[in-house]
Symmetry: C2
Subunit: 154 residues, 2 copies
């Protein structure tokens, strides 16, 4: 698999839980995301540990939101899934002896750090509620074709 899609997936799930279900099982969520229930538990474990969702075991259990979407930024979720690396390029060795290599890494690192800072600042600024608001603009009825067709349970 290529790019880490956990952030994107978790945002999807949280909006889904806010708009469609108050409580959802890993099984339901996995159908929605087109993946496996274990993957859902594994990924959402981070969100639970960070206090954004609650999970309950046993009969009637599942996942539910622990706070409003306007109280969660994209950075919060990025952090909750373990701050995976943002960039796919970088230096070859960590502590290069060669001074040319040090100069290369410093200059390239500066550019990467700038871009990273900008990206993280954006993630900090945007709340999940902002994305949900965008969704409302795209589909005023608030319908999700996948949910309304109940194909998730098929």
């Amino acid at each position: 698999m290529r790019r880490d899609s956990r952030l994107s997936r978790m945002l999807h799930v949280l909006i889904h839980m806010d708009r469609h279900y108050k409580r959802a099982t890993s099984e339901t969520i996995s159908k929605m995301l087109g993946t496996n229930a274990v993957v859902v538990r594994r990924t959402m474990a981070g969100l639970r540990d960070s206090g954004y969702v609650r999970s309950e075991q046993g009969h009637g259990g599942g996942w539910e939101l622990a706070r409003g979407l306007d109280q969660i930024t994209l950075f919060d979720i990025y952090e909750a899934i373990g701050k995976p690396p943002l960039f796919a390029i970088g230096p070859s060795v960590d502590q290069p002896e060669c001074l040319v290599e040090q100069a290369v890494d410093a200059k390239l690192g500066d550019a990467l750090k700038e871009a990273e800072a900008l990206l993280l600042e954006r993630l900090r600024t945007i709340t999940i509620a902002d994305i949900a608001a965008d969704f409302d603009r795209r589909m005023p009825e608030g319908r999700c074709n996948i949910h309304t067709e109940q194909s998730a349970s098929a």
Copy 2:
């Protein structure tokens, strides 16, 4: 292997060729980078096709610069190695049906595009000569500990 280090490596090689050798074989370069000669040929093939270096086969052959370092930007090299993906995160599916997912990808994509634009703009601005100048500031004598020790040929 984790992050794509080709850009960093190629910058290193080009400065190396400018400062230390006029012509270098893949074998020599591979020792310098701590890798294999075939990897060097494979990666530098892109630079050759883009006109930044020349290669010559046979006895006495090898690689040499085709233009000055002030005529090559970091973006040029990034492009020459095939514009590998810059980010390690992204959406899970390309054309999501779910409208929530579309909204997520749009918002997250905007942030990523902004960061990408900033990064590419930096890469376009910085020439390899700029990095070489930084190297001169770090080590005014212009010595490379690896080269001077001749450990590359050991």
